[in-house]
Structure formats: structure tokens, C-alpha cells
């Protein structure tokens, strides 16, 4: 009954940073793909497009979310992840190999690579789910925990469907359900995994970090139920080819707009008026999510591939905005926290670990990347330009992370600890 908090809860800094360091590397890889093949990336179901989508949603977004999950579990879940170093090492390794082999499989069309991708990606994702999910069912449940559970279940199902499709690609034999499986795979991955996890985190972070009015209990209690039921019914509708399947997209879209509205209101009315880059990222994120929802609704009504592309790009950028905003807070905090807890007298302040000027640099480049990539759906030159700006953004992010880590290492080896005086 009372299992829970322990003194050594926070995972070692390397656990989280190994995931975060990989994010800009995949970001630069994505930028290269977009720069050299802008037309192909914008062509739905083109192998290059599929490679780019998986680098974005697995190599960048899921990679950062796994890193954040390892950190959040100890705070929100209350129970530390067992053998955290070894487990993080394997999960990270599997995910890296999986994303690279899957992207390679799409680009090269090599069946063996699809098999390798299935083994490593499926392994990594199901490994995370079996490791963390049981811990989320222990102790007192709360809304964020419920969201995290649902997100991990959706991710596991997404992975299973991914494995099914990868085996179809490997054998070049597609079942009659291939298109349906792909739709379900997208819905579960984008809404079930990414949107639900971000909403769950927002319920905690926005209220507590910015000291805003709490989200309404009704909203917290029912948001995940509405999404879960809508996704479940949408899957049944898709597999049984029933009409009006778009109704479920409408319901989910309305809920996401509700989330955007209520979050914008809380950010606007926050008590902590001091503005920082993370708030700018959250604000940009909710604008991009609104754009993604509107573009998806337009694509449902007219079926234009451009609307679909805008929706997917804006959704990816929404998730990236939240990730970059949170990463800019988590990394300096972790460096500070681990040094301070170890008793180093000269632990640098958070604002000196990633200075505001470089954090603002990442934000400016993010806004330019967002603008050019969305305009790029209509003017291909802008899309190629977005790749260059995106590459600059991920390079700066990598520099920020490396400098933060170097400062951590430097203080570890040169700093004075309280016990030494």
C-alpha cells in the first residue's frame, strides 16, 4: 500500500540525455531528406515521404518522449524504473537501430531491413510499455497517470500494426486491410500516443510551472475517455467499412480545439507573468495544433493532398514545439539538480547552463522552420529552405545540449563539494 517514494528516485542524468542527444541528430537527418527530396517528401505514401514521417515521429518525437518518460515516471508515477541504466541503454539502442533500418527500408526497398526494423522498433516500443505500464497501475491514480497509460497502450498497438505492415512491405504482399491498418496506425500513433501524452503532460505542467488556474476537473476527467472511445469506435468503423467514419475525426478535432482554447486561456491568465522561451513554444504549439486540426477538417471535406500535408506537418511541429520548450527547461534543470544534489558549491544556475540568447535562437529558427515548411507545401523552394533552417535549428539544439553536458562534466571534475571544505 505504501510503496512509493524512495530517496534514489531520480534516474542518472545519462538516462534522459542519451535520448535527448539523439533528437537533433535525427533532426539533421530529416532536414537532409527534405532538402534533397522535397517533392517526394510531399507526395503522400511515397517511400521517401514514409521514411521522413518515421524519422520525424519516431526519431525525433518518440525519442524525446521516451527520454521525458524516464524522467517523469519517477516524479509522476512515484516508483522508479528498475535497472534504469541498462534498460534505457537497450531501449535507446533498439530505437535508433529501428528508426534507421525502417527509414533505410523505405528508401532502399530492402525486405531484410523491414524485418530488422520490426524487430528493433517493435522491441523498443513494447519493451518501454512492459517496463513502464505496470508501474503506472500502482498507487493512487490521477489524470496525468491515466493519460500516460492510455498513450503507452496506444503506442503499443501502433507498433503492433507497424510490424504487420512492415511484414507486408517485406513480402511485397498487401492484405485487403492494408489501407485500413495504415489509417488505424496513423490515428493511434498521432492522436493516441502523441496528442494524449502531450495533453496529459500539459494538465500538470501548465498549471504548476506557470501558476495558472487549474484545468476544469470535467475536462481532465473526460478528455482521455472521449479520445479513447472515439479512437476505439473509429477503428471498428474502419475495419467494418461503416459509413460516416469522419464523425470520429470531428469529435477528436473538437476535443483538440477545446484543449487548445483552454490551454491558451491558462497561459494568458497565468500568475507568473515573467515570460520565458518555454511559454513561447507552448503558445506556438497550440497555434500549430489548431492549424493541424483545421487543415485535417478541410482535407476531410475536399480531399486535397495539400491540406493533408499541412495537417501532418503542423501536427509534427506542434509536438516539436512542446518538446523543444520542455527540453529547454528539463536539460538545465537536470544539470543543476544532479550537481546540486551531489553537493557541488559552484553548481551553475539554470540560466547559465543554456543561456536565454541561445534558447531564443532555437525558438526563432523553429518559427522560421514552421513558416517555411507550411508555405513550402505550395511553393517547393520554401520547403527546401525549411530544411536548411531546420538543420540550423537542430544544430543549435545539439550545441546547447553538448555545452550543457560539458559544463556538467567540468563541474563534476573541477567543482568543490561541501564535504570537501
Amino acid at each position: 500500500m505504501y510503496n512509493g517514494l524512495s530517496l534514489d528516485q531520480a534516474p542518472p542524468i545519462s538516462v534522459v540525455l542519451r535520448f535527448f542527444f539523439t533528437v537533433p541528430v535525427f533532426g539533421i537527418l530529416l532536414a537532409l531528406i527534405v532538402f534533397f527530396y522535397p517533392h517526394d517528401v510531399l507526395t503522400p505514401t511515397h517511400p521517401i515521404s514514409l521514411a521522413a514521417i518515421h524519422v520525424m515521429f519516431l526519431g525525433i518525437i518518440t525519442m524525446s518522449m521516451f527520454g521525458a518518460l524516464f524522467q517523469m515516471q519517477s516524479v509522476l508515477g512515484g516508483r522508479p524504473i528498475p535497472s534504469v541504466l541498462g534498460n534505457a541503454f537497450l531501449i535507446h539502442l533498439f530505437l535508433v537501430i529501428g528508426v534507421l533500418s525502417l527509414s533505410g527500408a523505405f528508401v532502399l526497398g530492402t525486405p531484410e531491413l523491414f524485418i530488422i526494423a520490426s524487430v528493433f522498433l517493435g522491441g523498443s516500443i513494447l519493451y518501454v510499455a512492459t517496463l513502464i505500464l505496470p508501474l503506472l497501475f500502482v498507487g493512487t491514480p490521477h489524470d496525468t497517470l491515466r493519460g500516460m497509460r492510455l498513450a503507452l497502450i496506444a503506442l503499443s498497438l501502433t507498433a503492433i500494426l507497424g510490424i504487420v505492415m512492415a511484414s507486408e512491405y517485406a513480402n511485397l504482399s498487401f492484405s485487403a486491410f492494408h489501407a485500413v491498418i495504415r489509417s488505424v496506425h496513423y490515428s493511434l500513433g498521432l492522436v493516441g500516443w502523441i496528442a494524449i501524452l502531450i495533453i496529459a503532460v500539459a494538465f500538470q505542467v501548465v498549471e504548476m510551472f506557470y501558476v495558472s488556474t487549474p484545468y476544469s476537473p470535467w475536462c481532465k476527467r473526460n478528455a482521455f475517455k472521449v479520445i479513447a472511445v472515439s479512437l476505439f469506435l473509429k477503428i471498428i468503423w474502419l475495419f467494418t467499412t461503416l459509413p460516416y467514419v469522419w464523425v470520429f475525426d470531428l469529435v477528436i478535432g473538437a476535443l483538440l480545439i477545446g484543449f487548445v482554447t483552454t490551454t491558451a486561456k491558462r497561459l494568458k491568465m497565468r500568475k507568473r507573468r515573467v515570460s520565458d522561451v518555454s511559454i513561447w513554444f507552448w503558445s506556438s504549439g497550440i497555434i500549430l495544433l489548431s492549424l493541424a486540426v483545421v487543415a485535417h477538417m478541410v482535407s476531410l471535406s475536399n480531399g486535397y493532398p495539400q491540406s493533408q500535408s499541412i495537417s501532418l506537418i503542423a501536427f509534427g511541429l506542434f509536438a516539436l514545439a512542446v518538446i523543444l520548450g520542455m527540453m529547454g527547461k528539463i536539460v538545465p534543470f537536470l544539470v543543476w539538480f544532479h550537481l546540486n544534489s551531489a553537493g557541488y558549491m559552484d553548481t551553475p544556475l539554470m540560466s547559465n547552463i543554456i543561456p536565454q540568447s541561445r534558447a531564443k535562437g532555437v525558438f526563432t529558427l523553429f518559427i522560421l522552420t514552421s513558416f517555411t515548411s507550411i508555405v513550402g507545401v505550395f511553393y517547393i523552394e520554401f520547403f527546401a529552405l525549411s530544411a536548411l533552417i531546420g538543420a540550423a535549428m537542430f544544430t543549435l539544439l545539439l550545441i546547447n545540449l553538448i555545452k550543457a553536458y560539458k559544463l556538467y562534466r567540468y563541474t563534476l571534475s573541477h567543482g568543490k563539494r561541501f564535504e570537501q571544505i
Binding site: S6, Q9, V211, K271, V274, L349
Partner: protein, 144 residues
Amino acid sequence: MILEFMRDDHRACDHFYSEAENALAAKKTEEAKELFELFYRATNHHFDMEERELFLTFEKRTGMMGGPTQMMRYEHQQLRSQLESMRLALLENRTDDFFGIGESMMIMLQQHNMKEEQMLYPMIDRTLGDDGALMIQTLKDMEK
């Protein structure tokens, strides 16, 4: 319920901090000092309520001496040290240092509050049962 009572107290402390931070950002240094003092006192009082009454009663009833309450005490110690550094920075008009320390203090405080609100207080509520109301009265009676 202990959870509601202590959660409201967390929010009241957060409010004082936001006000102090806002005043300092608006260059109203003297007002910021007064408001920070309110936050400093309210937060230390909150820690005292937990350490002198709530945790002791919980530990006596459950026999858990080295568990979650010990973890919370350790975090109180770290947070108290942060509060002292901020107070000194404000006294010496080192505004950047105040904001710098405040950033990490706030994340740490919020993580600490999350753990208490989501795990520890519900545990205490279950342990105290009907005696919860009496405990709230005891906490209210503690001098600020």
C-alpha cells in the same frame, strides 16, 4: 481532507511567489522583497506543518520511518537552502541570480508538490481516516 487542505496551501505559496517575481520583473524591488518574504514564511510554515505534525502522525500510525516522509524531508532541506539563497540574492539586489535560482527552485518545488499531492497526501488521508478533520484543525492552529 488533508489533500485539499495542503493542496490549497501549496497554491497559496505559489501565488505569493508569482507576485514577488512579477513585482521584481516590473522593477518594484521593495514590493518584491515584501512579497518574497510572504512566500518565504508561507513555504517554511508549510514545511513545518508537515514535519512537526503531519509526517510524525503518519509515521507513528504506519511505522514507516524511512519511507516517503523521509524523502520529503530531504527535499524540504534542499528547498530551504534554495529559499535562503534567493532571499540573500534579493537582499543584495542580485536580480539575475534571484531569477536564476528561482527557476530551479520553482521546478523542484513543483515536482515536490506533485509527489505530495499525488501520492503522499492520499496515503495520509487513507491512514488518518476520520481523524483527518482533527489533524486539519491542529495544522490550522499552528502559529505562522
